[in-house]
């Protein structure tokens, strides 16, 4: 088999699985910052209980995130050595910065947060979860700097057979960095909010009078509504506008714009066919895409037909993943808005069916993150660094295909086990939550 395809499969697999956990970690960590703050400042036991319970969920999530994240730090070297040599002068820096400035921060303070409740002052204990949240968010910042540079490279010159750094500032603050960071971090908070809402709903279905779960559910749905809106507008919208300007091929692919035109339509729904590229059962609004992207209903937008055949991304996958992400994003606003309304009417506690919806909604923001990631990464193809290096030219020369196949099998086996165990332990933890709160309350008194 082709080592390029194999390495791409392995990368997609390992990053996809890893990327389930950091958004949950970031979202949950910020929510815990709020929970612990109230518990500390208002001195309310019910909030402290919430802190203790969800801290354990955070620990479990963080552990799987760290375990799968180690792979990512090394995989550029193992599978993409030509890429690493070509762009190492620029791409290595944000990865190293991520290590020095953020990994130490989040992992060090997570230890203090999880194990230090009775060893440090209450203020210090709160500070430690704050540092976990800050560290996790800054970590997202640096890794997204690296990814954004692949999408919209800047601040470099090609000489001596490689891309060399010309301006660190320009490389970091490249055209897509801020919008990508804001869109991703708001998405992470949506993931965390749905997670907390779903877990609280689970507890409320067991006991509608659960005072702790009532408070955490309220927090989760308010944060969830605000950030579900923010992830679409302005951050998602701005991100799309940036793609339209800096990566027109990707923009045409994700919007299903196969022929260049003025007053380009926004395709709301369609089923894409590949050969030839064509949208079936299409529902579209004339001029809306031109208006949304460029503020002018008559703006001309280049379609797929305008680009060389070997420089366009896979059309089917980018269209489908992008549109499903948008669909899910819209759904999140509806769910959270309904949750807030039901909360205000004090009906949410007993509407068992809606609580069940909240539980089953937990995986969907994660799915939306995956779809967004596929949109961004597959949409960049055939480039590994846009207009600078093709993915096919980036793989390691010395690694035989058989070894990559072997490692893919290892990852599939280990990650399937990890994923199943994570869900099993999470469900178990929540199932034992009542009993545990009782024993931890006893522990606190003793």
């Amino acid at each position: 088999m082709d080592p390029v395809i194999l390495s791409r499969i392995q990368f997609a697999l390992t990053i996809g699985f890893h990327f389930l956990f950091p958004p949950l970690t970031i979202g949950l960590a910020w929510l815990l910052v709020v929970i612990e703050y109230i518990g500390w400042r208002r001195d309310q036991e019910v909030w402290r209980q919430a802190g203790r319970l969800f801290a354990k969920v955070l620990a479990l999530t963080f552990a799987v995130g760290v375990a799968t994240g180690i792979v990512m730090e090394f995989q550029f070297g193992t599978n993409w050595s030509r890429y690493s040599k070509f762009v190492g002068d620029i791409f290595g820096a944000p990865l190293a910065a991520e290590g020095v400035l953020t990994f130490f921060l989040e992992s060090g303070f997570l230890g203090l947060y999880l194990f230090g409740r009775n060893r440090v002052s209450k203020g210090m204990h709160w500070f430690s979860i704050l540092m976990v949240a800050v560290g996790a968010t800054l970590s997202a910042f640096w890794i997204l700097v690296a990814n954004s540079w692949q999408q919209t490279p800047a601040g470099f010159v090609v000489q001596n057979g490689r891309a060399e750094l010309a301006s660190f500032y320009d490389a970091v603050f490249n055209a897509s960095m801020w919008v990508r960071f804001l869109h991703t971090v708001t998405a992470a908070i949506v993931c965390g909010a749905f997670f907390l809402a779903g877990l609280s709903a689970y507890l409320l279905r067991k006991n509608a009078e659960d005072r702790m779960a009532r408070r955490t559910l309220t927090l989760a749905v308010v944060v969830g509504l605000i950030f579900s809106i923010l992830v679409a507008f302005p951050t998602g919208h701005d991100h799309a506008k940036q793609v339209a300007r800096t990566q027109p091929e990707k923009f045409a692919a994700i919007e299903g714009l196969y022929t260049s035109q003025k007053a380009a339509p926004l395709v709301m729904f369609a089923y894409p066919l590949t050969k030839p590229p064509e949208l079936k059962a299409k529902f579209e609004i004339k001029g809306l895409l031109s208006w949304m992207a460029f503020g002018d209903v008559n703006a001309h937008i280049p379609g797929i037909d305008q680009f060389p055949a070997d420089e366009i991304p896979p059309l089917w996958l980018t269209f489908v993943s992008f549109h499903n992400m948008v669909l899910l994003g819209s759904l999140f606003i509806v769910i959270m808005a309904w949750a807030v309304i039901q909360r205000i009417r004090e009906k949410i506690w007993t509407s068992r069916r809606f609580l069940l919806v909240l539980i089953w909604a937990i995986p969907f923001p994660l799915a939306a993150c995956q779809l967004g990631w596929i949109t961004a990464e597959v949409g960049r193809q055939p480039w590994i660094v846009y207009k600078l290096m093709k993915t096919a030219d980036a793989v390691s020369v010395t690694v035989p295909a058989g070894q990559i196949l072997f490692s893919i099998i290892l990852f599939v086996v280990v990650y399937s086990a990890l994923g199943s165990l994570y869900i099993y332990l999470l469900v178990r933890k929540m199932g034992h939550a009542d009993q545990e709160r009782l024993s931890s309350a006893v522990g606190q008194i003793a």
Binding site: A59, L60, A63, V64, V66, A67, T68, G69, I70, V71, E73, F74, F76, G77, T78, N79, S81, S84, K85, G88, D89, I90, G92, A93, L95, A96, A97, E98, G99, V100, F103, F104, S107, G108, L110, G111, L112, F115, G116, R117, N118, R119, V120, L165, A166, S396, V397, T398, Q403, F406, S407, L410, V414, L418, L421, L425, R428, K429, S439, Q444
Partner: protein
């Protein structure tokens, strides 16, 4: 000071920091396989519980620093050591989740299973790290394009395997000394009994590894005696070696642990001094070696990275020290423990 030399030092500081810090928790993992009872196992896990994750970050950051400062080394070595590195990654993954998953279900079989996972993956990680390091000291086959020219089996040579076993013994000793420091009562006495045997093994293996390296990689030893740093690190190694049994016999746990830390730091330092200015010697043809010039990033990148390191690392050291202080003293099992 020259940027390339500074980064050579910084990479070894990170790798040395990793060896000292994650070294003891890998060693605790190995000892975990031989733990007497559930109480001892919980002491093991809780002794490293708050810190192992932070310790592992030294490896991640070392990898990132290598990528940023010496991308050719990062690319060549990691792709060349592909299978070995994948196994190391699997071991590190299993280890991380083993620690976290173990205490989550109250079932003896469940716990024993994750004990085995944690112990074996720690052992495998310690072994593979040593084998990888041994191969760097021996030199690896490199072609003129700076690509790896060997196979997986090239890595399984006697010197590398010897250094692999040395690293298992060394980390286990280091882990034992850490646990001695963190435990009390019967367990403390039981753990102390590990120290003399492990110490003898480390001394013997270290002597054998040094002698073998002298014959396999004579280039590491040329001009060494004229390097002032060589004498500094030799002193550290010697002091570490000698202080461990003395401090241990006097039941000075902290001092013995400092001894094994300086032993590991000294060994990493000696390796760095011997390799300098090469990072990866080319086996058979030293002209193809990767060194601090031909494998490095541009001065601009090295400078930017140095600024980031100078801002970040002092902070890291300050709060890491603070966190270790918060958990200093004997392990007390409580409600939040594993």
């Amino acid at each position: 000071m020259d940027l390339n030399i500074t980064w050579f030092l910084l990479v070894f500081v990170l790798l040395g920091g990793y060896a000292i810090l994650d070294g003891f928790d890998l060693g605790v993992g190995v000892l975990h396989l031989f733990a007497g009872d559930e109480f001892e196992r919980r002491v093991h896990l809780n002794a490293i519980g708050p810190v192992w994750d932070g310790n592992e970050v030294w490896l991640l950051t070392g990898g990132g620093a290598l990528f940023a400062a010496f991308p050719v080394v990062y690319a060549t070595v990691f792709s060349g050591f592909y299978l070995a590195l994948m196994l190391l990654l699997m071991a590190l993954i299993c280890r991380a989740v083993g620690i976290e998953f173990r205490g989550k279900v109250e079932s003896l079989r469940w716990k024993r299973f994750w004990d085995m996972v944690f112990g074996i993956s720690s052992l495998v990680a310690a072994l593979l790290l040593g084998v990888a390091f041994g191969n760097i000291l021996r030199g690896i086959p490199l072609d003129e394009q700076q690509n790896y020219a060997g196979t997986f089996f090239t890595l399984l040579n006697p010197l590398a395997l010897l250094i692999g076993i040395l690293s298992v013994a060394l980390f286990t000793l280091h882990g034992a000394l850490y646990l001695v420091m963190k435990s009390e009562g019967d367990l403390h006495e039981r753990l102390r009994k590990w120290v003399p045997g492990l110490w003898v093994a480390v001394v013997a293996l270290y002597a054998a590894a040094t002698a073998t390296t002298f014959f396999v990689s004579p280039f590491l030893f040329t001009g060494l005696l004229n390097q002032p740093l060589f004498w500094v690190f030799l002193l550290l190694v010697t002091w570490g070696m000698l202080s461990i049994p003395v401090a241990s016999a006097a039941n000075r746990g902290g001092l013995a642990f400092i001894g094994s830390s300086s032993l590991i730091g000294g060994i990493m330092g000696l390796s760095a001094v011997s390799l300098f200015p090469r990072l990866v010697p080319a086996l058979g043809n030293l002209a193809n070696s990767l060194d601090i010039r031909n494998a490095a990033s541009t001065p601009r990148t090295l400078k930017v990275m140095l600024i980031i390191a100078l801002i970040g690392m002092p902070l890291v050291i300050i709060y890491t020290a603070y966190i270790y202080r918060a958990f200093k003293g004997k392990v007390k099992l409580g409600h939040e423990s594993y």
